[in-house]
């Protein structure tokens, strides 16, 4: 299985939001990672925190890769398959950089906080100054490292800003236990206490939620 070996070292350069998410998860807990890709986070959570971590992924190639690596991942769609999990089956349900790509973000969040005690959500911040500047200066949909496809090709059909997400949590009655804004390299922004600055300079938001 030498072709798969490099995955073992993925944790070293794990996608930065995954490292931030892992930092919000307590050891020894039950975790469901929605849109888990090749299973990097669940592998990391099992190996470093002894979590019972499982994944759902919509891309069959990624599912095959993850299961062939020995990770418990099933093919499934966040929009339709969360309904098949029982209440409170997990301590944490994770959705990393996928909230903007699901069809019904509000319902997906509801399902996450039904089947899990807590939800960890990360998403690219559409309120970042560069996005605002591109739209303002060119009058066209922003295209950059984070939003890297033209509007008609993007899977990101529900972009939101950090402030938008706070409003949704308020409307839905979720408690934001922790949150942070980070740049793409995973450095936490110094804007933690100033939401408007975080919304301007944070490239992504990471939230830890629970039911009220």
């Amino acid at each position: 299985m030498s072709t798969l070996d490099p995955v073992r070292f993925l944790a070293k350069n794990m996608r930065v939001d995954l490292a931030l998410i892992a930092g919000m998860i307590a050891p020894g807990t039950r975790v469901l990672d929605i849109g888990c890709g090749d299973g990097t986070l669940i592998d990391h959570l099992f190996k470093t925190k002894n979590c019972d971590a499982r994944g759902i992924e919509i891309d069959m190639g990624e599912v095959t890769h993850a299961v062939a690596y020995g990770l418990p991942v099933m093919h499934g769609d966040a929009d339709t398959d969360l309904a098949y999990y029982p209440d409170n089956a997990f301590d944490y349900v994770v959705l990393s950089r996928a909230l903007q790509a699901v069809e019904r973000p509000r319902e997906v969040l509801q399902q996450m906080l039904r089947i899990g005690t807590r939800a960890v959500v990360s998403f690219p911040n559409f309120g970042h100054w560069l996005v605002r500047w591109q739209l303002l200066s060119t009058g066209r949909m922003p295209v950059n490292a984070t939003w890297d496809r033209p509007w008609h090709e993007t899977p990101n059909i529900h972009p939101c800003t950090i402030r938008d997400f706070f409003v949704l949590c308020e409307e839905e009655g979720y408690v934001v236990e922790r949150w942070l804004a980070a740049d793409d390299a995973g450095r936490r922004g110094p804007w933690r206490r100033f939401l408007r600055l975080a919304n301007l300079f944070g490239e992504q938001g990471v939230f830890l939620l629970r039911r009220r």
Binding site: M1, V63, G70, L71, V73, M74, Y84, Y85
Partner: protein, 392 residues
């Protein structure tokens, strides 16, 4: 069809239990034999045993030359040294199912008389109807006999997958990992319909003699061959048939008795199916075919739990891998997905993968590198969780 050359019945390694087995139908078999093969070595703490369950027309010769046909084992690309089910690491057990015809008790076995003695005539169609659960109970008896409390893994495709699901439902503590492949939790009306066509073909053969064909020394070869041909079509996909045969013609056999040959030619696919039919009858008993197809038709795991498949797996700690194939229309992905969802509801640890292939249901037996890689990886992950040591 000509009668096939009779093959000497080889001695199959087996164990016979005299303590009786009460079947789901209510009948009791006072004595039953389980023929089986093993590969690899059972480790000191008996924790590396893997049970392989065969499909409708499979048998215990999973990873070695078949004693009758001389062909390689039916899953020798999956089970063997260095294979996904590595016999250098695991102790693999493959039994012939109850009702089978390769040494386990079935319609070919001599009939039990009411006084407990054995008749010198076979059961034939008088053999009591058996279910997938009966097959699994017979296998459980074998596993206990071998001194194994918990199987590291149970795997199988098609009807083998049904047995895997039944194992996980009946004996959750005895199954660490379950791999039901290209299977379903029940047989659909379409599945049953195809089986019925096969059974009717056997009944229609004048050599069948109401199942007492041993009286003449002939077998209902024609009917059984047609049953196999019909079933074989369901194991393939249209794409696979097109790819392999298309509309190509070949010369019809000189001795052909069929009047419908056009210009002495026949389609290649016809020839292929006839070959499949004629080789099958050399190794398979018609009454056994009837018994086992019935067992599959009656399988409905949810029905045993008031219609709720989730209840069958409530509280299970078994780790599951469900695998299906895109072009399999006999046991389509929707069936595996609904099992996966029922397992999700039960809070089970489930992996679920669908593999792209044009090979149809048969894909689970064929060269499918992604499938094999996934089997190996899943078992490796389970071994780590079971404390069986990290694979090199």
């Amino acid at each position: 069809m000509d009668q096939p050359a009779t093959c000497a019945d080889p001695a199959h390694s087996h164990v016979t239990f005299d303590d009786g087995i009460v079947l789901e139908c209510g009948n009791t078999l006072r004595r039953h034999t389980v023929a089986f093969r093993t590969y690899g070595t059972l480790n000191a703490d008996r924790s590396n045993a893997v049970l392989v369950c065969h499909a409708l027309t499979g048998d215990q010769y999973v990873a070695e030359e078949h004693p009758i046909t001389g062909k390689p084992g039916w899953w020798d690309n999956v089970v063997g040294p260095g294979c996904p089910v590595d016999t250098e690491r695991f102790f693999v057990i493959c039994p012939n199912v109850l009702g089978g015809c390769m040494g386990s008790t079935g319609p070919l076995s001599n009939r039990e008389l009411p006084d407990g003695t054995e008749s010198d005539e076979p059961w034939g169609t008088e053999f009591p109807p058996v279910t997938i659960r009966d097959m699994v109970r017979a296998q459980k008896r074998l596993i206990e006999h071998l001194g194994i409390e918990r199987l590291f893994a149970v795997l199988g495709g098609s009807m083998g997958g049904m047995q895997v699901l039944q194992w996980a439902a009946s004996y959750p503590d005895a199954v660490f990992a379950a791999l039901p492949i290209a299977t379903a939790a029940y047989h659909t009306a379409q599945n049953i319909a195809f089986h019925e066509v096969g059974r009717q073909a056997i009944f229609a053969d004048p050599d069948w003699l109401n199942g007492q064909y041993w009286r003449t020394g002939r077998i209902p070869a024609r009917g059984l061959a047609v049953a196999r041909m019909c079933a074989h079509i369901t194991y393939l996909s249209e794409e696979a048939l097109t790819r392999k045969f298309g509309r190509r013609l070949q010369n019809a056999p000189k001795d052909s008795t069929e009047a419908i040959n056009l210009f002495g030619e026949m389609f290649e696919v016809e020839s292929y199916l006839r070959h499949q039919g004629s080789t099958f009858v050399q190794r398979f008993d018609a009454n056994s075919y009837l018994t086992i197809t019935r067992a599959m038709d009656y399988f409905d795991l949810a029905a045993d739990c008031g219609g709720d498949l989730t209840a069958a797996f409530k509280g299970t700690q078994t780790r599951f891998l469900l695998a299906s194939f895109t072009s399999d229309w006999l046991f389509p992905t929707t069936q595996s997905r609904s099992v996966a969802r029922a397992l999700n509801r039960a809070g089970a640890n489930v992996s679920f993968v669908e593999f792209p292939t044009d090979k149809g249901h048969d894909a689970f037996l064929l060269e499918e590198p992604d499938f094999h890689r996934t089997l190996a990886g899943f078992l490796r992950g389970c071994a780590a969780h079971a404390g069986l040591g990290v694979f090199s």
